[in-house]
């Protein structure tokens, strides 16, 4: 850290703000939980949580909403990371929600378990009595996210009301809720995609291997490169080929697109990202391309 003239670099300022938010929520909520997908944002968030309470352990569990269609590399990474930290892992399974008849599997070519996760997530929050759920969303990701509060209220149905949000001033957060309600907390609100990568490099954080270029069997659909997997519903007219790819976000295998890449080191990945001219979600997420307001609609229902 640069200390001489009492200035902090912007990464240090972002880190200080995120730690403040995480401590605030840990102090004021009975049962927080950190939503951990194994992606770069939740990896960063978990690292910040670790820093916030050091040398004490992270005082809340982490929860993964497992679609059953995850990249195996990511699940392996998740398990290793939570063991290292000694935190409790809660797995909420979309498959269980389907088996219990809470949701119905989508059908057709674009079928994905992405939207189904909302029910699984809300059921798990209710079942475990979680009152605050940390999410790794950033405001730079998407238009609807740009208006999201840091501590964002959810009613007893888990719904977000963008027109009725609590004003947030200075570093004061309103943490009052009633029984059955909860909040989502976004400690990375003010980080950009590039900030996350810079931080991962600075902190030498480990990330799942799929973020680096690797050979993979893929096929092309609507401009997206999708992994050939049992969940892909690939048509006969969508030929499979091998390509060097990496992932820019980590989501469901059925709807997360890969990008062609030769970047096998972190420096090379950052260089490619810094030069890219397409947003993270536009390039890699089929779920957000269906309509201009796709994210806003999902968020209102209670999505991440």
């Amino acid at each position: 850290m640069q200390r001489t003239d009492y200035r902090l670099s912007q990464l240090d300022m972002l880190e200080a703000e995120s730690i403040h938010i995480i401590r605030e929520v840990a102090a004021e909520f009975e049962r927080p939980v950190l939503l951990f997908s194994g992606g770069k944002d939740s990896i960063t968030m978990l690292r910040l949580a670790e820093k916030a309470f050091w040398p004490a352990p992270v005082p809340f569990p982490v929860m993964h909403v497992d679609t059953g269609h995850n990249f195996p590399e990511v699940i392996e990474f998740r398990d290793r990371r939570v063991t290292e930290l000694g935190v409790r892992l809660v797995v909420a399974s979309v498959q269980d929600s389907i088996d219990q008849g809470r949701v119905v599997e989508e059908t057709g070519k674009w079928a994905s378990r992405n939207r189904l996760q909302t029910t699984t997530l809300l059921d798990a929050i209710e079942e475990h009595g979680f009152t605050a759920a940390f999410g790794g969303a950033r405001r730079d990701e998407e238009k609807a996210r740009a208006k999201e509060r840091v501590v964002s209220f959810r009613d007893e149905f888990g719904q977000w009301d963008p027109k009725n949000q609590r004003p947030e001033l200075w570093n004061l957060y309103n943490t009052k809720i009633r029984q059955g309600e909860h909040v989502r907390v976004f400690p990375l609100s003010n980080w950009t995609e590039l900030d996350i990568w810079d931080y991962i490099r600075r902190e030498a954080l480990e990330i799942p291997s799929i973020y680096f270029a690797h050979p993979r069997m893929v096929f092309e659909r609507d401009g997206l490169l999708l992994a050939d997997s049992p969940y892909a519903n690939r048509d006969d007219d969508e030929p499979v080929f091998e390509a060097m790819v990496r992932y820019r976000t980590v989501g469901d295998m059925s709807c997360t697109g890969a990008v062609k890449s030769v970047a096998t080191t972190l420096d090379e990945v950052i260089e490619e990202i810094a030069a890219t001219r397409i947003t993270e979600r536009g390039q890699t997420r089929a779920d957000d391309r269906s309509s201009e307001a796709a994210m806003e609609d999902r968020k209102k229902e209670g999505y991440f």
Partner: protein
């Protein structure tokens, strides 16, 4: 687009203007010209622009966040935008200018280092410009920029600019403005936004972006009065690790001053003194801590310290007060603020209950007239109130420290955040 963000510093600014003054266009222009717009975002905007039969690509569409806003073509809530140049990262609090949304502006300004107020050159200073200027000074935003927009529509006239300049300077003299900069721009055509404009040779100041990149903000923080609100007590309790068995650290974000190991400090509310032995972070101990660092203090003596307490210096303490006078901006739709209203007050890391004892006056934010006969503050009104708090708060004047001088009020019935307060006096 900047290549990497690690070492640069950060400027937060808020934008304000009336509807159609060109705020969205300006933000779109800043994002576009700093190459922070991605191709897919631009394509979406171009498509919508064409569908609407617009002549130019409407950069304003880049910042219209929510569906309701896109449909109504207005900005209804604070939205945050990000861009970076090789010199600085910027966070924009994009606050809508409608009369009914004073609360959004107050919210956006609370954390801003700088505010840009947009004026339509054809209309000059209007009532809302004065309101916006007043709010930035009420919230103590350290730097103010008056961007006189749509200069292309007044033939880039120096005379028009000078008239607005003089009129606003006269008005600003009534306010407490420390750093005021005027810049003539055309957000639509890009004049003086990123590059100096060839159309206004008479203007010899910086472009808006140049000003944003270079305005000096390091000395805006209070580095004099040590204020450390205790946020969280860290006690590892790991029986396996004997070194940590007795560890007791007080975690928080520095709200003022510079703390060093060895410094004598005073704890409130106890009034006991001790000294700092270590300032810890997960990356190791540091030799000083200053705002806005999040650190963990360890102290020489075992004092009973918990969340909501304050650590300061023995000869420089905040006021310990249960009676507080403050300027309050009322933000609730459902009901007004009236004397005897009971609320929850959240100040630094302390939460207590409060009752409104007096409404001294309501301020007309356009004329700055004080209405001492007012009996209530309704949505988006500002006034000076006296509060009685159930337990002492450790406060400073908001003018001296925004973090120990600001508070929010919460309605216990709805849990809504209903007011922002700026402390003017405390006993």
């Amino acid at each position: 687009m900047s290549r990497t963000t690690g070492g640069m510093d950060l400027l937060r600014f808020a934008t304000a203007g009336s509807v159609d003054d060109g705020k969205s266009t300006l933000i779109g222009r800043l994002l576009y010209d700093s190459k922070s717009i991605f191709e897919d975002q631009l394509e979406a905007v171009e498509r919508t622009s064409q569908d609407r039969g617009e002549e130019y690509t409407n950069l304003a569409l880049l910042t219209d966040g929510l569906r309701a806003e896109r449909e109504q073509g207005i900005t209804i809530d604070v939205a945050y935008r990000y861009f970076a140049t090789p010199r600085r990262k910027f966070i924009i609090a994009d606050t809508p200018g409608h009369i009914q949304y004073t609360r959004n502006m107050v919210t956006g300004a609370s954390t801003a280092d700088l505010a840009i107020i947009l004026i339509d050159a054809r209309k000059g200073i209007i009532e809302q410009s004065r309101r916006h200027a007043f709010l930035t000074t009420l919230l103590k935003v350290p730097h103010l920029v008056l961007a006189v927009n749509k200069m292309d529509l007044v033939d880039y006239s120096q005379e028009t600019f000078d008239r607005i300049h003089d009129e606003f300077t006269a008005f600003a003299a009534k306010l407490d403005v420390h750093d005021l900069t005027f810049i003539p721009i055309s957000a639509l055509h890009g004049d003086n936004v990123v590059e100096r404009s060839a159309s206004m040779p008479w203007y010899d100041g910086p472009s808006l972006l140049h000003h944003l990149e270079n305005v000096h903000i390091a000395s805006d923080r209070n580095l004099i009065d040590v204020r450390f609100p205790v946020q969280y007590v860290i006690r590892p309790h790991r029986s396996t690790d004997h070194d940590l068995h007795d560890y007791r650290g007080y975690a928080g974000q520095v709200a003022g001053g510079v703390l060093k190991p060895g410094d004598e400090v005073l704890h409130l509310p106890s009034g006991l003194t001790t000294h700092i032995t270590d300032i810890d972070t997960a990356d190791g101990p540091v030799d000083e801590a200053f705002p806005p660092m999040s650190v963990t203090l360890r102290l020489a003596d075992d004092i009973d310290i918990s969340r909501g307490d304050m650590i300061c210096r023995p000869h420089n303490r905040p006021a310990v007060a249960q009676d507080i006078d403050a300027m309050v901006c009322w933000m609730a739709v459902e009901r007004p603020l009236t004397p005897r209203t009971k609320l929850v007050i959240k100040h630094t890391t302390r939460t207590a209950r409060a009752v409104v004892r007096d409404l001294h006056y309501r301020l007309d934010v356009n004329t700055l007239h004080r209405d001492e006969d007012a009996t209530a503050l309704s949505l988006n009104e500002i006034g000076r109130v006296g509060l009685r708090v159930t337990q002492p708060l450790f406060v400073d004047d908001y003018n001296r420290n925004r973090l120990t001088g600001g508070f929010v009020l919460i309605d216990e019935a709805t849990n809504a955040t209903v007011a922002a307060g700026m402390i003017t006096d405390a006993k």
